[in-house]
């Protein structure tokens, strides 16, 4: 049942953020700010070559340096690893042959092969400079040189000889849930009025949190306790990973994420360097910390987005989509996370998006290369939207239809709900129709077409691009059950705790809003603790756009359960029927008799200290836990619309307007929702127009500073305009996922706008990035 929660006292309000006061005054506490006495500092020696044998590795000069405590190489650390897997994937999923430090050979430029532990980072870096290392360099295996299929076909030069192939994963091969072929689709392709095939490329662009990775860890053998503070999206995940690696019981590990300076997926799973720090403190029994610098973060902090997708789409003569076939190719680098880094299985399921068609086939292949491994990046599966939304425009052009009209004809209509996609997903409360119409109206689509035609007469290149998607937040496996604890303490204030790992998402504020609203107390009296394995229930952290939808739902249920308990205790005190009681702002009163009331503080005193007076069978205390069972997927949807202008002389693209119409169900905090959208959209602007992580054909990275890897600045962004359609989800609270959508949907809207602007040139705009040079090349037909 949908529950449309009208804006309440707190839920639905743009409440100011709890987090801000400390962060705007310089009083945040990020991992680099944590200082433990006697802490040792780490610097890594990283491979300068992409592939080769380690011919020589002499660390003696480094070891002799004043201030250096220890130097470790692969053979000193790798044997300590007992087990290495990610909770979401499980112990049986395939993994590349993981190692903390390169041993015998190196497999990507930037791979750490030695680790200097010293009294300061300055001295540790001096130590790194003194290490004598030499390589027998080998030809690197790279999609940049061989292409995706070339890498897959190379059986002689293997990224991981232990794996036996450069193919990391493929679909549908080996997936019992996916068909090997779809003859009905092939029949459609043979007879349909329009059949179009096109391939869309995406380049390597990456998360770039402003705070790089970092960890401080300390093993105390006398207390048998491993303390960890890390820049992580999931304190529980790093605790589990440390326990597996060392063979140490999790209850001897305490992991905390203090303030975390962004992540976008990169901080979801512990990486080799962080785990190496944990092994070193376990060996030395002294606090050890590693704070990654920016050069390391760009080089080694996890890469993303290098993939392509070939689509074939068939329509009838009226432009109705009849079927889609997709082939997806991914470069997952050398040591991707999690598992083998492939996002194809999620792309496969989500590719139909908001469109109505029932014949479908998906295949895909991921290849290992001698580059930095792929990590999760905000909507890791997003190639399905990037490719599909471009394909829609390409097909619309092919059949001579405006892309807005083509979408109107093909999206799932309100009367088709609940709708089962060609991939078996069931949408109950999505609104592609509403967001498409709202976005088209907000951007003035029809008026723009008139303006565009006039501009073209004057030599101005204006373009409009639409993009739609259904954002699915996964709720399977470890992602499918999250817990919120809510308790009223003796003083009558509320402490909630949960397993989130906020790294910018405002969770301390939004979850407190949900609890305050549903419990019936003042927001100022609710505090949330999270990101701490000792005080938070087990949880998978913040990622996958699940904080509002899953944790928020659990927070509502927990608060309602606690409220029931409060009313039961208050009923004893007021000698009233619990069903006649209501709580507002922490005061319980009898309906129709406002004089009969007790405060939450009084109820708490009774619940904890007055157990003798509670009814037989009632458990004393005011402390509730609720672990929610999430559906397989929860869905939100949006339409993005962009208007760009291209400078015909320089090829520079300016985004003139950007409209997002989205439906994330009930909004807990509209200000936070819009902030999440904006951040995602601008990451798309960066990815399409500015950011490009480049390797040369020998596997040398060319973009390891912010002078080469260009992030968008305030001058490159338009004012983003928001439209909200509110259709609650059928889950508690009615909240839907929305954290990743801005980054998933924006690239295609921007590329489509450029494609539209370049229509007069007949240019084929199927590749990114679209920097000035690429745009000039497109205009000149290169």
């Amino acid at each position: 049942m949908s529950e449309h929660q009208a804006a309440g006292r707190y839920v639905g309000q743009s409440v100011r953020r709890r987090e801000d006061l400390r962060l705007i005054t310089g009083n945040g506490r990020y991992v680099e700010d944590v200082a433990w006495p006697g802490t040792l500092h780490v610097a890594f020696l990283r491979s300068p070559v992409a592939r080769g044998k380690i011919a020589q590795l002499d660390v003696s000069a480094a070891q002799a340096l004043d201030g250096v405590i220890a130097v470790y190489t692969g053979k000193d650390l790798n044997y300590e690893v007992k087990s290495w897997w990610q909770t979401m994937i499980g112990p049986d999923a395939p993994q590349p042959p993981r190692r903390l430090l390169a041993e015998d050979d190196v497999r990507w430029t930037g791979e750490a092969l030695a680790m200097v532990i010293a009294t300061s980072r300055y001295v540790a870096e001096d130590g790194v400079d003194l290490i004598d290392v030499d390589f027998d360099t080998e030809q690197a295996v790279l999609t940049e040189r061989l292409g995706f299929d070339g890498v897959a076909a190379d059986t002689e030069n293997l990224v991981h000889p232990e794996w036996g192939s450069n193919v990391a994963a493929s679909l549908p091969a080996g997936n019992p849930l996916m068909p090997e072929s779809n003859p009905a689709l092939e029949e459609i392709f043979a007879s349909a009025a329009h059949v179009v095939t096109e391939t869309f490329n995406q380049h390597r662009y990456i998360c770039v949190p402003m705070e790089s990775r970092g960890i401080i860890a300390s093993w105390d053998p006398y207390r048998e306790m491993l303390e960890i503070v890390a820049a992580t999206q999931s304190a529980h995940e790093i605790r589990s990973a440390a326990g597996r690696m060392l063979g140490l019981n999790e209850n001897k590990i305490h992991a905390v994420a203090e303030d975390v300076g962004g992540g976008f997926g990169q901080k979801m799973y512990p990486t080799a360097e962080e785990l190496a720090v944990i092994v070193v403190t376990y060996k030395l029994s002294r606090p050890v910390r590693w704070i990654e610098d920016r050069n390391e973060n760009l080089l080694a902090g996890g890469h993303a987005r290098r993939e392509d997708m070939k689509l074939t789409m068939a329509t009838d003569s009226s432009g109705k989509i009849l079927g889609v076939k997709a082939h997806h190719r991914e470069d997952v680098g050398s040591f991707p996370l999690p598992s083998v880094g492939s996002n194809a299985s999620l792309s496969a399921v989500l590719l139909p998006g908001p469109y109505d068609f029932n014949q479908y086939f998906f295949s895909g292949q991921a290849v290992f290369t001698n580059t930095n491994g792929k990590c999760a990046y905000r909507g890791p599966w997003m190639m399905e939207s990037v490719a599909r939304e471009q394909m829609v425009d390409v097909v619309a052009a092919e059949i001579g239809m405006d892309p807005l009209e083509f979408r109107r004809r093909n999206i799932i209509q309100p009367d088709q709900l609940p709708y089962t996609t060609a991939t078996g997903l069931v949408y109950e409360s999505v609104t592609p129709h509403d967001t498409l119409e709202q976005a088209a109206e907000m951007i003035g689509y029809d008026a723009f077409r008139i303006e565009q035609a006039a501009a073209r007469e004057n030599g101005r290149l204006l373009g409009i691009g639409l993009s739609m998607y259904i954002e699915a937040s996964p709720g399977f496996g470890i992602l499918g059950a999250e817990q919120v604890n809510v308790r009223v303490d003796y003083g009558g204030t509320v402490l909630a705790s949960t397993g989130t790992g906020s790294h910018g998402q405002s969770v301390e504020t939004t979850i407190a809003q949900v609890v305050a609203e549903n419990l019936g107390v003042d927001f100022a009296d609710v505090k949330l603790v999270q990101g701490d394995t000792a005080t938070s229930p087990f949880g998978s952290g913040t990622g996958g756009s699940r904080t509002a939808s899953v944790f928020g739902g659990a927070a509502k249920e927990a608060a309602l359960l606690l409220k029931q308990k409060v009313l039961l205790v208050a009923a004893e005190m007021l000698e009233a029927d619990p069903s006649d009681l209501e709580m507002d702002l922490g005061v319980v009163s009898v309906a129709g008799n406002p004089e009969a009331k007790v405060t939450l503080e009084q109820v708490a005193a009774m619940a904890y200290a007055g157990a003798m007076m509670l009814p037989e069978g009632m458990e004393p205390g005011l402390d509730v836990t609720f672990r929610i069972r999430a559906p397989l997927f929860m869905y939100s949807n949006a339409t993005h619309a962009a208007i760009v202008e291209i400078d015909p002389a320089s090829g520079a693209v300016k985004v003139l307007r950007y409209v997002v119409s989205e439906d994330c169900g009930n909004m807990i905090n509209p200000m936070v929702v819009e902030g999440q959208i904006a951040g995602g959209v601008v990451q798309g602007i960066g990815g399409v127009f500015y950011e490009n992580f480049v390797y040369d054909t020998d596997g040398n990275p060319l973009t390891t500073t912010f002078l080469d890897y260009l992030l968008p600045t305030a001058s490159e962004v338009p004012i983003i305009e928001y439209g909200h359609v509110i259709t609650p989800s059928p889950t508690p609270g009615g909240f839907k996922p929305m954290g990743e959508g801005g980054a998933i949907c924006s690239p295609a809207a921007l590329i489509n706008a450029v494609r539209d602007a370049l229509t007069p040139f007949g240019a084929k705009v199927n590749s990114q990035p679209l920097g000035p040079q690429q745009v000039v090349d497109l205009m000149e037909g290169n």
């Binding site: 100011r16 953020r17 600045t713």
Partner: protein
């Protein structure tokens, strides 16, 4: 490596430190003064997270050596508010306009903007964008930051008394 004695005033307090010649001002502030609000986002002078005010000018403390700051007067994010328990106009505006998410880049933005508005109290929109383009943010898409600069200008013009440093959980906008 030889060490040098550096004496500087940070947020009105005198600090004396013995530092290697290669130590950056940022590291001196963070490690020797324990003022960790100054953040290091790139250590090559592009992101602006480490911006502090040295003798009236906004500088990137990752590119300045501690010894170069000998005898200087430095203001960091911890000293930008007019008084204890108060917020500066820019701090207040960042909070009102959702000018931050993870908050890592925020100190650099706030210090840069304070310094910019001190020098140019009524900038054009173009000047505002140009100024804040010297700092990188990865979370907000700059939307709240751009709004915050305009609000800060208004607040400065009104010379509004800074609010008490309390978390009142106030609702600042109506429901959408």
């Amino acid at each position: 490596m030889s060490e040098h004695v550096v004496e500087l005033t940070v947020n009105g307090q005198t600090h004396l430190a013995k530092v290697e010649g290669r130590k950056t001002l940022a590291d001196l502030l963070r490690e020797d003064c324990r003022l960790t609000g100054t953040h290091l986002g790139c250590e090559h002078g592009v992101c602006g997270a480490c911006t502090v005010i040295v003798d009236g000018a906004a500088v990137r403390s990752c590119l300045m050596l501690a010894v170069q700051a000998d005898g200087s007067e430095v203001t960091t994010i911890e000293g930008i508010a007019p008084g204890n328990g108060e917020l500066s106009s820019v701090q207040q505006a960042f909070r009102e306009c959702h000018g931050l998410q993870c908050g890592f880049c925020t100190p650099g933005f706030i210090v840069s903007i304070e310094s910019f508005l001190d020098a140019n109290p009524h900038p054009s929109q173009e000047e505002i964008l140009e100024n804040i383009s010297g700092n990188l943010c990865r979370c907000t898409g700059y939307q709240g930051i751009i709004k915050a600069v305009s609000l800060a200008i208004e607040l400065r013009d009104k010379a509004a008394a800074p609010p008490e440093l309390v978390d009142d959980g106030g609702v600042v906008r109506g429901a959408v």
